[in-house]
Structures are given as structure tokens and as C-alpha cells.
């Protein structure tokens, strides 16, 4: 399919505020720029406003204040159909009484596109998505993955400027989800349509995104590439939210840049102005072998989960839960273990505003 690259454009969200019935704001003064051809993933826990944000871009929700621009044109009051945006819904929202072909062509029909062109486009799209054999079937006769494809086809066929996904994979089983994830990314690489993808699944976010937006209670916690989000979380929230198993977090008193970790003192390599910090350590940054500049801690093992290539050790120290991820073989009957923690691998967050304390 030929996509006219000149038509594609930026999406610019400026100081947008959204609330329902004058209650608390769901989206709190949010600004965000999406670049042309970019695949942006908005991730956050349920209720963080990510779907609302997407629906505002689509025009399905009004915004209370602020502006949304596409290609330099403010579209606040443009109805959804005229925004040239396509959306893939969580439950696909295929028209149950129409067959696949009609589902695909309905939007084009409403736009009064000539029949011959509709036919060619349906043919191209069904070929692209490998649904050529399904054109005469109704949605009820399709499997989850096939429905997903049709839903995407219905969006792509209109050659939109922006492609919106609202948790499109959450109704699929795990295996299919992985497969569709790859297909969505491949499709994006092929078509290069600016995409905004909403999910609560951090693996989807990490694998699909050019850039990730972490949203929490209507506020952007961090925007960055998957690597930045994972390796340089700017706030406690991001550090806890991204990563499976999640980062281990402890609160610790600090005097003179010396933290107290389960009774062991540790000189921190950062200047701390508060007298309390959150210390975060990723499960894979904990070592079972002695290393330099580390402290040694004894953990009580609650359970060992073998995942094949790696093992997860669920443990506790003074009733603080603690997860260790290791490639080494662990004896399941082991009751306790010494682990080594390195200062450089620690993330420090201010106890006051929960923001990252940067390394100097």
C-alpha cells in the first residue's frame, strides 16, 4: 500500500486538562509531543488516565482546557471522523452483523470513496494482514487473533495520519499476544504511521515503543526511550512500575551520606540533602558472588521460582520482601543465602518528592 509520507504530521498536546462533572482532574495539565512516524506507548496503572488521553486525541472525549494539535492545526472542536485518526479498540468493536469485507470498507463508504477504490484497498489491506480468506466471514466466526487483524485493517485502510491503540492485545492469550505484538511492530516499521499505543502491560511498552510515556494519576512521570525508562527511572513510581519482577525498594535513614541497610552501614556515592531516602535495587543487580565495593547481606529464602534460564528468589530481610533474579542454579531447599549489593547499582530517590537523586 502506498502511503503518502507528506500527509503525516506531528501530534502536539498542550496543557490539556480533563475532568468529569467538575470533580478531580483526570488529566492534569498534560503536555506531550509525538513526532512524525513515531511509535509512542503510554503506560500506567489502571485509572491513570491513559485511555482518557487517547480518547481525547481521538475526539471521543472533550477536553476542559488546553489544545490538541495535529500538523499544526488545532483540532479541539473537530469531530472524530474529520480528524483523520484511526483507532483500534480493546474489544475490537467490529460490527457484528457485517462480514470482514464490509467491516473494512464501512469507513470508506461513509467517506464516499468510489467503489472501485474501496475494492482495491480492501484487497491490499487483506493481503497485508493475511486475512484474504476471511473476507466473507462474520466477526463471530473469527478467532481472537483474526479479529484483532481485522480491527487493525479497519484502521489502516483509511490511511490515517495517526493510529491509536487502546490496549488492543489485552483480550488475547499470552502466546498470541506475543505474536501480535511483533506483528504490530513490523507493521509500523512498514507503514511508518504515527502511533499512540495505550497499555498497562510494561512488556508491551518496552518491546513496541520508540518512546514510552509513564502516566500516573493524570501526570506524566517520565518520557523516554525504553532504555531510559528502565535504566534511568526519574521517579520512584517509574522504578516500581517498570520491570518484572519489580525493583526492590527500601527506606533508609541517611547521615553524612551514609545509609543504613539492614543494620549495615554503607557510604553512598551521591550527595543526599535529606535525612531519609528510598533505595532501589533491581533484582538482577543483586549478586550471589562476592564483588568489590559491595555490602554483604543475609536473606531468608521464602521461595525459589525456576523459570528455566533464570531463577527468582523470593526472600525477606527483617520482614522486608526482597526479590533476587539470578542465572545461577539455586538449590530449592536452601533456607538462607548471602547476597552482595553494590552502591553503583542503586537508585536513590528522595523521600520527600520521590524523585531520583542523580549520580554526580
Amino acid at each position: 500500500m502506498e502511503i503518502n509520507r507528506k500527509k503525516m504530521s506531528y501530534l502536539n498536546i498542550k496543557n490539556v486538562i480533563k475532568n468529569y462533572n467538575n470533580e478531580d482532574n483526570i488529566i492534569k495539565n498534560l503536555s506531550l509531543k509525538v513526532e512524525k512516524g513515531e511509535f509512542l506507548v503510554i503506560v500506567g496503572p489502571s485509572g491513570c488516565g491513559k485511555s482518557t488521553l487517547l480518547r481525547m486525541i481521538a475526539g471521543l472525549e472533550d477536553i476542559n482546557s488546553g489544545e490538541i494539535e495535529i500538523n499544526g492545526k488545532i483540532i479541539n472542536n473537530v469531530p472524530p471522523a474529520d480528524r483523520n485518526i484511526a483507532m483500534v479498540f480493546q474489544n475490537y468493536a467490529l460490527y457484528p452483523h457485517m462480514n470482514v469485507e464490509k467491516n473494512l470498507s464501512y469507513g470508506l463508504k461513509n467517506r464516499k470513496i468510489p467503489k472501485a477504490e474501496i475494492a482495491t484497498r480492501v484487497k491490499d489491506i487483506s493481503k497485508l494482514l493475511q486475512i484474504e480468506d476471511l473476507l466473507k466471514r462474520k466477526p463471530s466466526e473469527l478467532s481472537g487473533g483474526q479479529r484483532q487483524r481485522v480491527a487493525m485493517g479497519r484502521a489502516i485502510i483509511r490511511e490515517p495520519k495517526i493510529f491509536l491503540f487502546d490496549e488492543p492485545l489485552s483480550n488475547l492469550d499470552a502466546k498470541l499476544r506475543t505474536q501480535m505484538r511483533i506483528e504490530i511492530r513490523k507493521l509500523h516499521d512498514k507503514l511508518k504511521i504515527t502511533s499512540v499505543y495505550v497499555t498497562h502491560d510494561q512488556i508491551e511498552a518496552m518491546t513496541l515503543a520508540d518512546r514510552i510515556v509513564v502516566l500516573n494519576s493524570g501526570i506524566i512521570e517520565q518520557v523516554g526511550t525504553p532504555d531510559e525508562i528502565y535504566h534511568e527511572p526519574q521517579s520512584l513510581f517509574v522504578s516500581k512500575f517498570m520491570g518484572t519482577p519489580p525493583m526492590n525498594i527500601f527506606k533508609s535513614k541517611v547521615y553524612d551520606n551514609v545509609a543504613n541497610l539492614f543494620g549495615k552501614e554503607m557510604k553512598l556515592d551521591r550527595n543526599i540533602n535529606d535525612n531519609e531516602v528510598y533505595i532501589g535495587i533491581r533484582p538482577e543487580d543483586i549478586y550471589l558472588e562476592p564483588i568489590e565495593n559491595s555490602i554483604k547481606i543475609e536473606i531468608n529464602i521464602d521461595m525459589v521460582e525456576k523459570l528455566g534460564s533464570e531463577s527468582l528468589i523470593y526472600a525477606n530481610i527483617d520482614n522486608h520482601n526482597f526479590i533476587v533474579k539470578t542465572n545461577e542454579k539455586i538449590n530449592k531447599s536452601l533456607k538462607s543465602l548471602y547476597v552482595y549489593i553494590k552502591n553503583e547499582k542503586m537508585y536513590l530517590f528522595s523521600a520527600k518528592d520521590e524523585k531520583l537523586i542523580k549520580k554526580q
Binding site: A58, L60, H97
Partner: protein, 284 residues
Amino acid sequence: MKNTFSSKLFSHIVLILASLMFLLPVWVIVASSTHSPETIVNNGLQFFTGHNFINTYKSILFENSGYTKNVTAFRMILNSFIMAMGFAVGKVIISSMAAYAIVYFRFKLATFLFWLIFLTLLLPIQVRIVPSFEVLADLHLLNSYTGLIIPLIASATGTFFFRQYFKSVPEELLEAAKMDGANSWHFFIDILMPLSKTMSAALFIVMFIVGWNQYLWPIMMTTDPQYSTILLGIKEIYQSNFEGTYLPEFNRAFAMTTLALIIPVLMVLFFQRLFVKGLVDGDK
């Protein structure tokens, strides 16, 4: 319940008895209508068919009868059919559109208006028959199909059913249609109505029967026998049997009754297939 032989036998006996209870009187009427008037007067109702079928039905269908001797049963069946059809189609259209407005155009008084419509369930036609008559008389719509049909097509029941159904249609379908550039009218015609096909058919058939059986309103509305319905015809023919000094022609009365049954039965049989199809398709 266990599906033993005795329980099967028992349920079949109950079903057969119940069917007989409903079917026998109908059969007696059908059978009697094929006898001569003399046989019925002399020997009472007949259980087996007679030899007068063609004569009776031909004369009742195509020869003028009634008080003024200027309307045939065929004409009356046609009138009934037009009325019932208009009644049922009108109800489906009006109530689906009313429900569409209530469910999808969240205007301020929607809930209040819905309950107001719902309240009219408590007010049968008899309550408003005088004002309705007055209005139609002023509009010169007495003795017309329009006058027969229009005042009856507002339906609280229909609106209620459509409302409940529309509320169960996922919101995302509306949103998808919006993104696909469908306006409110497109969404209604292209998406909502095809989805509620089965429900519309059910409502249609029920309303058709109700419309077919309308009695009070047509009797008020029509003075011209050209507009009288088959039910009025039945009433008239029985009445004349008891009033005249001739031999009562019960065969004709029974034939008229039989004819009045045929169309509703055919409608039900025809739409029954649609119901089953709708259920099997699982379009929802």
C-alpha cells in the same frame, strides 16, 4: 430432572393435552364452517368436515355482506391486514427511534421523558379514546387508514424493549462508527437496526397480532363499511344471526372466524423461522 422414560411420557402427555385444549375448539369451528347452516342448526357443532366448504367460503370472501350488503370478507381481511401491518411497522419504527433518542442523545430530560413514556402503559386506549377521536375528527381522518393506524403506534412497551436492548450494545461500537465517519443516522440504520433485527422481528409479530385484534378503536373510527375490519365483520355476522328472522347462518360466521385466524397464524409461522435464525446466528 432425570430424562427417564416415565418423565418423558408424563411431559408428552401434558403437552399433548394442552395442545388439544387449544386446538380442539378451533378445529370444531373450522369443521363446522364446512357444513350447511341446516346441519348446524339441527345437529349442533360438527367434528368432521362437510361438503359446503367451497360455497360458503366463496360467498363470504367475494360476495357483499354486512348490514348494508356492500363489503366482502376479502375487503375486511385486507383492511385488517393494512391496519395490523401499519400498526406493527409503525410501532417498531417509532419506538426504536424514541429509544435511540433516549439512549444515545443524552439530553437533559431523557430519563424523565422515558418514565413519562413508560407511564402511558398504565393508560390503555379506552382512557384516551374520546380525545383521540375528537382530534381525528377535527383532522377529517375518520374512515381512513391513517386515522386507524396513527393514534395507536406510539408504544411504551416497544420503547422500553428497544431501550433495554440499545443499552446492552457496547459503547465502543458507537465510537468505532464515529471514527468511521458515520453520523447519527448512519449509526442507527447501518449498525443499530441490523443488530436489533431479531428483537424488531419479535416486537413486530407481537404487535401485528395486537393490531389484528384491535376492536374498540376501529369500531369507533369507521362508519364506512369499506373500512371495517375482519373483527368487526365477525361481530356483525354473529349479531345478524341472532337478530334476523332467517335461518341463522352459523357456517358463514364460522367461516369468517376461520378466515380471521389465517393471516396471524401465517405471520407467526413465517417469523418463527426468522426468530430461530436470529438465535442460531448469534449476531449479538
